[in-house]
Amino acid sequence: MNLKEEKRNDITICKLEGEITINNSAELRKAFDLIIKRNEKKVLADFTAVSYIDSSGLATLIEMFQRLKKIGGRLRFYGLDQKIKNIFEVTKLHKLFDICDTQESALKDL
């Protein structure tokens, strides 16, 4: 998994790439820790290049969602591949997370 960050005004865009699994979710958690430490409250997770996610990856996203919520922040997702969208739906996490169709609508929503 690779993660690149980009700033768009007060929004932090996390461009994730590859497979998010138990073998790299600690790395993702560390990146999220830094975002929280910098007090960045608007986060957009760009899933365009994510090919796979397991339950540990999902748990890391839930943690980030909760941490942002606690400080009055927001987390939005966009660019989910249909197979990953299905995983969000099967686990009902699409009810918890805000998943947007385009980057534009996600940015607007934040």
């Binding site: 796979y52 397991d54 339950s55 748990a59």
Partner: protein, 144 residues
């Protein structure tokens, strides 16, 4: 067709084990989505076996075997731990459990595979995916 892989209880050994197993079933005419589900369920079962079953004891092993028949693919993952009661795992899809960070692996296996059975007090799981489209239970995933 039968084949199996055996690994010691180290998480870093899982990706290679999955890759070897997936390579052996790639010739089957599985839909991309089916292959994705199988890979994910293999991952979840192996992680549960290493983490919860063998409790990261690197002296203990996890065995994974796959049997391919004309209409189905059956995966068996067995650890050397004390087992667990899968009925006792709270459903992570219930509204009150959505923010829980555990139990989702067992749930995903139940939802993405067509038949799932735990054996030896839960230290083993046998999961089947029907690969003949007529027997497939694809709607199950949408009903989740």
């Amino acid at each position: 067709m039968n084949f199996s892989e055996r690994i010691f209880s180290r998480l870093e050994l899982i990706p290679d084990c999955i890759e070897k197993l997936i390579k052996k079933i790639k010739h089957l005419s599985l839909a991309e989505e089916e292959l994705f589900d199988i890979k994910l369920c293999l991952q979840e079962a192996l992680v549960n076996a290493v983490k919860h079953g063998n409790k990261f004891d690197t002296n203990l092993e996890v065995e994974c075997s796959i049997e391919v028949l004309d209409d189905r693919l059956t995966i068996q993952v067995k650890d050397q731990g004390a087992g667990f009661d899968e009925q006792a795992v709270p459903c992570p899809a219930h509204t009150e459990n959505l923010t829980k960070t555990s139990g989702r692996g067992v749930y995903l296996i139940k939802k993405l595979m067509d038949e799932v059975k735990y054996f030896d007090r839960g230290s083993g799981v046998k999961m089947t995916k029907f690969i003949n489209k007529e027997n497939s239970r694809e709607p199950k995933r949408r009903e989740a």
